[in-house]
């Protein structure tokens, strides 16, 4: 809500500078989004008369204007606008004037022509931005007189307040002024209400209420002899400053009173309402109404409508009036409706139709149930003053289910406990009463909530008000006693260790959005799973990923298109899957389920320009970082990966001793790479951190290293491709135990001589004993056993 300081000052004396006002409002919870100074017209700007307008000889868009600044010596000014003619009165900023934006006007040349000053637009003068071109004065004025005097404008401050949903009262000047006065201790609203007071029965108009649950109060009055014309300038200016467009004096006055008091009202042309009768009922499904904005709306059972004598729908209650009964230039009598509508009803209608008005905003938050009559009187008063209206005495009114403000016990002890500072009852009283709360009692207080604070329904609401009015920043600052010790869990420490290892290996961390487009999974040769969103913003973000692969491959592709190749990335994030028992642990009996099945945390790694082997070596590093040595790889084709270059990863769970699947390693399928326009191999690693971080991993035990000499023996075996190298290595290690301390594969080769489907695996086997120097015969004996053991593998032979 945008409101002017001068308007606030009509309700409470206010002598605050712009920034002081802004700070004060913010400290009251009325967050100031923007502060603007308006009407600060430089005093040097004068009225000038246009003598002649001529084209610029060398510029089509510039005009040469001769003006009389009132001192009898005409000036030539260059001007980009063309909405002036000889004889017009315009605003001239003479040379030396400092404009509101800080620009100092100087004598200068534009394309060779002298310009001694500037003709100003409203925007340049800080008067608003309503009109195109320069300001041309309507009325008579003497050239040379200061513009500020002619216009009668005074500098004012407009603050834009972001009103919180629980503060409907602050959607009015009155409400904001009440808070300000309460904080400053200044008098508030001493004039009371308007001079016109309508009361008694009303002739020529009547009301009926068929839906008391939707409408708490429905009242009308009539104003005759209305001249529908433009509003006075000050009123139009206040509306504009508040961001509303002036329309005509009747509509403007209802809007003005809405801004001032927070009560929207609606003006009908009485001549178009048979018998002046208005009724309220629930809409029927499929009923139609053309609203003021010219759009035909289809109504619903949940909507409240205003109808005429013949049950025709005239207005959408609390949201927008109908076009048919709109005020026009021919209107002479106004039927004014002031109502209190049920907030959820207005909220639902407004949301369903996507129709949000200043009125619906206030009704859905909850209008002050006690302000209606004052608002009606105020509209009448202003229309009498500014539209020549005469008041027809009386009010037609009917009431429905109007909420009654709460009366709430308030324990000062509770205030102290919640806020952390003792508030004596007198202090509580002095904080609450200026806001309109009634406070009775000495020890246990009973607080009656004013009609404009429907948000206050329970004790803690009042505690908040005490704290707010006292000032949250003035509360003491203490530290709670924390008896526990802060620490990261084992899983959290391991997650960090994994990240550090990957970064140390030269990888950078990616964070793709977890949404996929339909078809992304197929493009990556992955099974089509994943959860679907019911209301995605765009189809490209409608699938919750079941795998990190598509996002990371897309990242490699994106980088490739920007000429970054060999990019190595990792991601740690959640993946989602439809599955048996998804979310079954979230029943009423056990809402505390920790993890929703179907959601897992995974690590994904892509290594651009690398083959599967790099990913395997990285896998070992990652596992070692979390205390796991020696993963088991099972070569097998896996979705999305090169079928001949992929393996399932298994590790030992030290609790059960069994092997558990933790992910996959290999190379992205070449078809997938091709579809993404990636021209290099991409190695892949994927680990299920939900499993890995939760694994029981025994602390590794240190073994003292032997101080005796070691002996190396090279052994090469020719083995069928079907036999994993790991089988050979394990055989060597197990057979040679305990004297074999390491088995390192140093060469792999294939040749015609070896035959198809076979390869040579050459190992350096190191022998060492913990307690002595090994003898040659000892080593030879073990070597022989190793050869025999390996050769017992189908098709394996020692290469001689």
């Amino acid at each position: 809500m945008r409101l002017a300081r001068s308007w606030l000052a009509e309700f409470t004396p206010l002598e605050l500078a712009a920034d002081e006002l802004s700070d004060l409002l913010s400290d009251l919870g009325l967050e100031v989004e923007e502060v603007t100074t308006v009407g600060d017209v430089p005093s040097e700007v004068v009225v000038a008369r246009v003598l002649e307008v001529r084209p610029h000889p060398d510029a089509d868009r510039i005009r040469l204007v001769d003006v009389d600044p009132g001192d009898g010596s005409p000036l030539q000014v260059c001007c980009g606008a063309n909405n002036m003619a000889a004889g017009d009165l315009v605003a001239l900023a003479p040379v030396g004037t400092v404009m509101p934006d800080g620009l100092e006007i100087a004598s200068r040349r534009m394309r060779g022509q002298v310009s001694d000053g500037m003709l100003c637009s409203e925007r340049e003068l800080g008067l608003g931005d309503g009109h195109e071109g320069i300001l041309v004065l309507d009325g008579p004025a003497t050239p040379g007189s200061p513009l500020v005097d002619v216009l009668g404008v005074r500098p004012d401050v407009v603050v834009e307040v972001d009103v919180l949903p629980n503060r409907p009262d602050a959607l009015s000047v009155l409400g904001v002024a009440r808070d300000v006065a309460a904080r400053l201790g200044t008098p508030f609203d001493v004039d009371g209400g308007p001079s016109v007071v309508l009361d008694g029965p009303l002739e020529g108009a009547s009301v009926a209420l068929d839906a008391p649950d939707l409408c708490g109060r429905f009242a009308t009055c009539v104003l005759d002899d209305v001249r529908v014309g433009p509003s006075p300038a000050w009123l139009a200016a206040r509306l504009e400053a508040a961001g509303m467009r002036p329309i005509n004096v009747v509509v403007d006055v209802t809007n003005y009173v809405m801004l001032e008091l927070g009560q929207p009202s609606h003006a009908f042309d009485l001549a178009l309402v048979p018998d002046g009768h208005l009724g309220v009922r629930r809409a029927r499904a499929g009923e139609r109404l053309v609203t003021l904005d010219g759009v035909e709306r289809t109504l619903d059972l949940a909507d409240a409508v205003v109808v005429d004598r013949d049950d025709r729908v005239l207005a959408l209650a609390g949201v927008m009036g109908g076009a048919e009964t709109e005020i026009s230039g021919t209107t002479t009598s106004v039927l004014l409706e002031v109502a209190w509508w049920d907030p959820p009803t207005v909220a639902a209608t407004s949301a369903r139709l996507g129709l949000h008005s200043e009125a619906s905003l206030r009704f859905k938050r909850g209008v002050d149930t006690g302000i209606g009559r004052r608002a009606m009187d105020r509209v009448a008063e202003l229309l009498v003053e500014h539209a020549g209206a005469s008041v027809r005495p009386g009010v037609a009114e009917v009431t429905g289910d109007l909420p009654v403000p709460a009366t709430i016990p308030l324990r000062p002890e509770r205030v102290a406990r919640t806020l952390g500072r003792a508030f004596p009852t007198d202090e509580v009283r002095s904080l609450l009463e200026p806001m309109g709360f009634g406070v009775v009692g000495d020890d246990e207080l009973v607080v009656s909530v004013p009609t404009w604070r429907p948000d206050c329904t329970v004790e803690v609401d009042l505690v908040e008000e005490v704290g707010r009015m006292y000032g949250l920043s003035r509360l003491p600052r203490t530290l709670p006693r924390i008896t526990q010790r802060g620490r990261l869990t084992e899983a959290q420490v391991r997650r960090r260790a994994i990240r550090r290892t990957l970064v140390g290996a030269g990888l950078s961390e990616a964070m793709p959005l977890p949404f996929l487009a339909p078809g992304d999974l197929e493009r990556c040769e992955l099974p089509v799973t994943g959860l679907l969103l019911a209301n995605p913003l765009v189809a490209e973000e409608s699938v919750l990923r079941p795998s990190l692969l598509p996002g990371l491959v897309a990242a490699v592709a994106y980088n490739a298109t920007h000429r970054s190749t060999e990019v190595r990335l990792f991601e740690i994030g959640r993946v989602f899957e439809v599955g048996e028992g998804v979310l079954t642990d979230v029943g009423d009996s056990s809402r505390a389920g920790r993890v929703l099945a179907g959601e897992r945390e995974r690590l994904g790694v892509v290594l651009g320009g690398r083959h599967a082997g790099s990913a395997v070596r990285l896998l070992e590093a990652v596992l070692e970082a979390v205390g796991i040595v020696g993963p088991t790889l099972v070569n097998e084709p896996l979705p999305g990966l090169h079928p001949g270059r992929s393996a399932r990863v298994r590790v030992r769970d030290d609790r059960t001793g069994s092997l558990v699947d933790v992910g996959s390693v290999g190379e992205i399928h070449p078809v997938v790479l091709e579809r993404h326009g990636i021209a290099e191999a991409v190695a892949w690693l994927d680990l299920d951190l939900s499993v890995l971080l939760a694994l029981e991993v025994a602390a590794r035990r240190a073994r003292s290293v032997s101080r005796y000499p070691s002996a190396d023996v090279d052994l090469a075996f020719v083995v069928d491709d079907a036999v994993p190298a790991e089988t050979v290595r394990a055989t060597v290690r197990e057979t040679g135990a305990p004297l074999v301390t390491s088995v390192r594969l140093f060469d792999v080769f294939r040749s015609d001589a070896l035959g198809p489907g076979r390869r040579s695996l050459a190992y350096t086997v190191r022998f060492q004993a913990p307690d002595r120097t090994l003898t040659d015969p000892e080593v030879a004996e073990v070597r022989q056993r190793i050869i025999e053991a390996v050769e017992s593998i189908d098709g394996a032979t020692l290469r001689s």
Partner: protein, 349 residues
């Protein structure tokens, strides 16, 4: 041998002088070996003279022997000196040849970088752990109850519109029952899970926990919005914790994370799940205030939803955006850079 000892003595002087001259001229370690054996070896003149010593008259034998030893010692020490000199030269030559310009190596390797959001996340965790908190997490797919209802946001609550929520398509989600599934719009459901857990496991409060995590909004990605971002929330539940404790804890956090010269302030605000509620501003070196997040006393209805009696327990919470802090700290102009995964961006931070 019939030479007189005088001749021998004279020859020895000449031998030594020749040896020294010749050795001084050798400039290669290999040649030095050859020269040494020529003067000192079995077939050298010196060896011959030594063998002929027994023919020298007995009265001169000691004199000649001494002269022999002297000549040998002189030549030997000249060989050693020359060997050392030549070794030094060889080392110097080798070192010269091995000279490298180490600046050639700068900027050649690509180094790994943690995502700046992770960096910020971990720094925040560390600060809170240092203050005595533990770290909790929870699922990103949530139920309506955890994300809204338990947080004092019943289905009809108007403030629900503050969160543009992404819902899951219920088709094919077996076993969910009546619960509406959604992507959590804040990390607050982790607070609910933490409190429920504490109650269910019998321990109950006190609770001192922070919950960092990924959250979702139905929002188009642009320079200042992402549909996926990250928050961290602090939750304290104990007997008699107050708004003053909250203000003090936030101030302690401010000093620990932002720096000892900066301070915090609270401004009244509104959140359905806390009351009183406040916005948290942190002072900036230039004197302005930076709005970082929201906080407040846990609403009694939230405590009740978790089985905690608000007359017995009270709590406070403080939450803010991790991405926003990272954005401000590192001068990131467009939030989309966080999710584009351009290596040129990732490697800067």
């Amino acid at each position: 041998m019939s030479e007189g000892h005088d001749e021998i003595l004279e020859e020895l002087v000449g031998l030594a002088a020749d040896g020294l001259d010749e050795l001084a001229a050798v400039d290669d370690l290999g040649d030095l070996g050859a020269a040494a054996s020529r003067f000192l070896g079995k077939h050298s003149r010196l060896s011959q003279l030594k063998a002929g010593l027994r023919d020298v008259a007995a009265e001169h034998r000691a004199t000649v022997g001494e002269a022999l030893n002297l000549a040998r010692t002189q030549i030997e020490s000249a060989v050693e000196d020359r060997r050392a000199e030549l070794g030094e030269v060889a080392t110097r030559t080798r070192l010269d040849a091995e000279r490298l310009d180490l600046t050639e190596e700068l900027g050649r390797d690509r180094h790994g970088h943690l995502h700046v959001i992770t960096q910020t996340w971990e720094q925040l965790e560390d600060v809170f752990v240092g203050m005595g908190f533990t770290v909790a997490d929870g699922p990103e797919v949530e139920t309506d109850w955890f994300n809204f209802e338990a947080l004092n946001l019943p289905p009809s609550h108007p403030a629900r519109s503050l969160w543009d929520t992404l819902y899951l398509d219920p088709d094919g989600l077996a076993g969910v029952g009546e619960e509406q599934l959604l992507l959590r719009t804040h990390t607050s459901p982790v607070q609910i899970r933490t409190m429920l857990d504490a109650v269910r496991t019998g321990g109950g409060p006190p609770i001192h926990v922070v919950c960092p995590g990924r959250v979702y909004r139905r929002d188009t990605a642009d320079a200042t919005h992402l549909p996926v971002f990250h928050q961290i929330e602090m939750l304290v539940v104990d007997r008699d914790v107050s708004m003053a404790d909250l203000a003090g804890t936030i101030e302690a956090f401010t000093k620990a994370y932002f720096g000892g010269d900066l301070t915090s302030r609270l401004r009244p605000s509104y959140f359905p799940f806390t009351e009183p509620s406040a916005e948290v501003d942190i002072s900036q070196p230039d004197g302005s205030w930076l709005e970082v997040g929201g906080c407040g006393m846990v609403h009694p209805n939230v405590l009740r939803a978790c089985g905690l009696d608000p007359e017995e327990w009270s709590g406070f919470a403080f939450g803010f955006g991790i991405d926003r802090l990272a954005k401000i700290r590192h001068g990131v102009e467009d939030l989309r850079d966080f999710v584009t995964n351009d290596i040129r961006f990732l490697e800067q931070l």
